[in-house]
């Protein structure tokens, strides 16, 4: 994507340079050519020209719309992660980036990624707004407390790149920096193998699901006091208040932290709110686990390689 962003940049630079040079040249030229030669001189009696006005309204309009369309196209591709991207969880807090890889390896202020593979970052914040930015890949996204945001990129060349916080976040904002280390896939695997894993995100999520007693109400059949979570991710949920909502990351997040906000139809709002009791990191693990909960496959066996299936 970085190439495409640069290409767009070059296009706009050329258009703008053309107009900047054109107008500047005209201004300087007129100033010299039409300089006042006699103190009493006045300019020619010209009031305007509708054709000229329409021309220089229409041309900038067309060019601006071209920039808009091209920019929107690039943006939409930047904003929509490919479905098969590798998922990495990142939480910003004053003043560090905490990273958790799918295999469970954790790191701080460093992000190792394999080249040639789409990487999707799920982004959260524990305190104020941060912004996760990798200038070399031309991507960034705000980490907003109370939300889960996302961005994706694909590293193409092995190397070390800046990882920066781009949203002002207090005293050590400029210290909230790190490195993205893009590696050949086999090196990445080797690096992962050398890291200390504390369990994969899904495994940790499953453990939390038990330790927070979620499992007592959210049973796999519909006998629990809370709705079953099998296949909930991505489904459309009906609410007590009458509306519906798509169960995405942010809905799951809200339902855990502020459980009374959007109660599923047919259930009482009795679930305690976990705001303040669960960290952003754990929350992401829980959501990672809930995502793996699928209705039992008829052919049997879990479809989740991580082993967190919901039989």
């Amino acid at each position: 994507m970085a190439m495409e962003v640069d290409l767009l940049y070059l296009f706009i630079v050329s258009v703008c340079a053309f107009f900047a040079i054109l107008v500047t040249a005209l201004v300087v030229f007129f100033t010299i050519k039409y300089r006042r030669r006699n103190p009493d001189d006045v300019g020619a009696d010209i009031h305007g020209s509708l054709i000229l006005e329409l021309t220089w309204t229409f041309i900038p309009f067309v060019l601006a719309m071209a920039m808009f369309a091209w920019g929107a196209d690039v943006f939409f591709r930047l904003a929509r992660p490919p479905a098969d991207a590798m998922e990495i969880y990142v939480v910003g807090k004053q003043w560090m980036w905490k990273v958790q890889h799918p295999a469970g390896v954790k790191e701080i202020n460093e992000l190792h990624v394999p080249v040639g593979r789409d990487v999707r970052i799920h982004l959260g914040s524990e305190d104020v707004i941060h912004d996760f930015s990798i200038p070399a890949f031309r991507v960034k996204m705000d980490a907003v407390p109370g939300k889960i945001t996302t961005l994706w990129f694909r590293a193409t060349k092995p190397g070390t790149y800046h990882l920066l916080c781009l949203e002002y976040c207090g005293t050590k904002h400029s210290g909230m920096i790190g490195q993205v280390i893009a590696m050949e896939p086999q090196d990445y695997e080797a690096w992962l193998a050398g890291g200390r894993s504390t369990g994969t995100a899904v495994e940790n999520g499953e453990r939390l699901f038990t330790s927070f007693q979620c499992i007592t109400c959210h049973k796999d059949d519909s006998t629990g006091r809370g709705p079953s979570l099998l296949g909930v991710y991505g489904s459309t949920v009906e609410l007590t208040s009458g509306g519906t909502v798509i169960a995405d990351d942010n809905y799951l997040r809200e339902s855990i932290m502020n459980s009374q906000a959007k109660v599923v139809k047919g259930y009482q709002g009795i679930m305690p709110a976990f705001q303040g009791q669960i960290s952003e990191e754990n929350l992401m693990q829980l959501i990672a686990y809930i995502k793996t909960l699928k209705p039992a496959a008829p052919a049997g066996g879990s479809d989740s390689p991580a082993g967190g299936g919901g039989q």
Partner: protein, 236 residues
Amino acid sequence: MANAHDTTLAHGAVEAHGHDQAHAHHPKLQHHFYSMEQQLEASILGMWIFLVTEIMFFGGLFLAYIVYRTMYPEAWIAGSNHLNTYMGGGNTLVLICSSLTMVLAVRAAQVGSRTGQIVNLILTILFGSTFLVVKFFEYAEKFEHHLVPGPNFDPALPGPEQIFFALYFIMTGIHALHMVVGIGIMLVILRMAWKGTFTPEYYGPIEVSGLYWHFVDIVWIFLFPLLYLLGFHLGH
């Protein structure tokens, strides 16, 4: 000064004497206006523009209200059901009456009735004060029930409900502040009316203050259903 925009180097097109014309002025005509009509029109337009800024001022709050109501409909119903509809409804009536007396006061000024102005202004002030007294008791009740946002807020209630009450207090609080200012203005106007300042030729201040008073009433007309009646509407 017929050639105001005339030729480039036209120095000294106009000289001559001072600005004060000989013809008689109304004593209330300020020096920079041509006529009483111009002065009145300027002050009325000024007040309307001021009210536009007020609408934008409250507009920010209404926007926050709409956003959170859409996000947390349940909390909004629950919060609304905590409010005392009778007190709110009574206050609505009181304010509507005060708008009526305000109009009558302006009318009295236009037809030159000093008594009419004084009686109606006093009634307006009384209605306005009644509103504030009722509001005071409402606020006191919320304090007792731990419904005032902040560290003292009832911890058993979910977070978004505190946001409802935060907006309730900010919106009604700023409205009440406008009422206090309005009553202050009415006291000044009352004093002017008492001295017989207003005549059918000069009634700008009372008319302009009346516009302000009506605006504050109208804000309440929006606040009352949005805050108090919402629970009935969305049901439970």
